[in-house]
């Protein structure tokens, strides 16, 4: 879905190494004191370097980073709402504390989203699940995600066919008038998904499923020490920046 197929050094890294690197990088960013502006510049530079290495364009990254907007909207309100010492800017009276708070949310949120986007752009969904599995993420979670990945398309196909069938029988496709048919469709789709789940389970039983997925994929491959080291460069640099920022402020 977000995956951008390419052959870059970042794409080639094993998924588990990239996942760990992304999480550690985010921790370093979050641990950085908000007053250390230069540190956030350094993080942004790291993101730009990795993006360049992975051949992910700035337009692609920034347009998808907009997803964070609803979550950081509060950051823009903080300078107006917070109490305490105030500064005048463009005729607005802004709270200094609020400005810092807003900046904190916005900078850390954006860096976290960009890092996750880079992970998603360079790792296929399949590999992400494989990576989580190798990191000993509870199997039930990866199983659910695997099923979702496989059956999302089947369900989307089914709902599309149901919609075409509705339209063919003269359903009005304008937004509001479509709601009733749409709602009934959702109900039917739920039932179908439920029945399909039942049949899939039977078919799995027939092939000897005993409640656990065979550990076929976990044992093959896995990151080598060199790959772990390569993936570690980003979080190590970020940790260094965070430590410096903590000491200096």
């Amino acid at each position: 879905m977000l995956y951008r197929d390419a052959a870059s050094p970042v794409h080639r890294l094993p998924p588990e190494a990239k996942i760990v690197a992304m999480v550690l990088f985010t921790f370093a960013v979050v641990a950085t004191p908000r007053e250390a502006f230069w540190a956030f510049g350094a993080y942004a530079l790291l993101v730009v370097l990795v993006a360049a290495l992975a051949r992910v364009g700035p337009g692609w990254l920034l347009s998808r980073a907009l997803i964070e907007l609803p979550f950081v909207a509060f950051a823009f309100a903080l300078p107006l709402l917070a109490a305490g010492e105030r500064v005048q800017w463009l005729g607005m009276s802004l709270a200094v504390e609020g400005l810092y708070g807003g900046w904190n949310i916005l900078a850390k949120g954006t860096l976290g989203v960009l890092a996750s986007l880079l992970l998603a752009a360079t790792t296929s969904t399949r590999d992400l699940l494989l990576g989580l599995d190798r990191l000993r993420c509870p199997q039930i979670l990866t199983q659910i995600a695997t099923f979702m990945l496989r059956y999302l398309d089947v369900l989307i196909g089914e709902s599309r066919r149901m919609r075409v069938a509705r339209l063919s029988r003269g359903d009005d496709p304008r937004f509001f008038w479509q709601l009733r048919g749409f709602a009934a469709g959702i109900g039917a789709l739920f039932l179908r998904a439920f029945e399909r789940g039942e049949r899939v389970y039977l078919a799995m039983l027939a092939r000897g499923y005993d409640g656990r997925m065979p550990a076929v994929w976990r044992e093959t491959g896995g990151a080598t020490a060199a790959q772990w080291a390569a993936a570690a460069t980003v979080p190590v640099v970020a940790a260094g920046v965070a430590a410096a920022a903590l000491v200096l402020t």
Binding site: R126, T146, F147, L149, R150, Y151, D153, V154, G157, R196, R199, V200, L202, A203, M204, L205, A206, R207, G208, Y209, D210, P214, V216, W217, E219
Partner: protein, 255 residues
Amino acid sequence: MIAPVETVAALAVRDLHYAYPDGHPALRGVTLTVAPGERVALLGPNGAGKTTLVLHLNGILAAASGDVSVGGLPVRGDRATLAEVRRRVGIVFQDPDDQLFLPTVAEDVAFGPANLGLRGAQLRERVAQALAAVGMSAHADRSPHHLSFGQRRRVAVATVLAMRPQVLVLDEPSSNLDPAARRELAEILRALPVTLLLVTHDLPYALELCERAVILDEGRLVADAGTRELLADAEVLARHRLELPYGFAPGLATG
């Protein structure tokens, strides 16, 4: 075809009864014996109990009374027996989308043998052989939903073949296939050295693949004969809501 006395039947069903949870009887005393290597068509109208019978053959449904045995092994509820029964009897379900649930073809084909405990090179060899048997080797790493329906059906057959079953049960294998895909599948099935139970109401397909046919209607086996002979009996077919396609004469078909 009558099995020699000394061979153990590949499938033996004796006086099998089953009722749905709501009490409606689905099977009312089914008795069926299939010899090793035999190819038998299980015919019957919709709702005759065909799929219910199939689910008894590998112990997914448990018989209310009567018994089922596979290669001499009685199907019972304990784990070890069920695992062995499911290794011996492979079921290919009607909708390949029910059967293929993993992100790539190769993983799906590996699912069954991995459940049997195979690992590493052995497992890879099983997968490669099963995909080769259905002519899908080139698509091992693709996602099932990118394949055509006919290709998905073939992969579904491979997922079961990879378990090396002694008995292969196919539920409506020719449904929704275009004529070429239908013929290709028939060629694949005919080449397999296994006992075959073909559940269908596609009568020409039964004639093409199976020398023997049985009719299941309202939970009972009502006919058991050579396929050509059975399809020539218009009266029996009509009594059980089975009809030959327009213009099809079983006596003239070459097979």
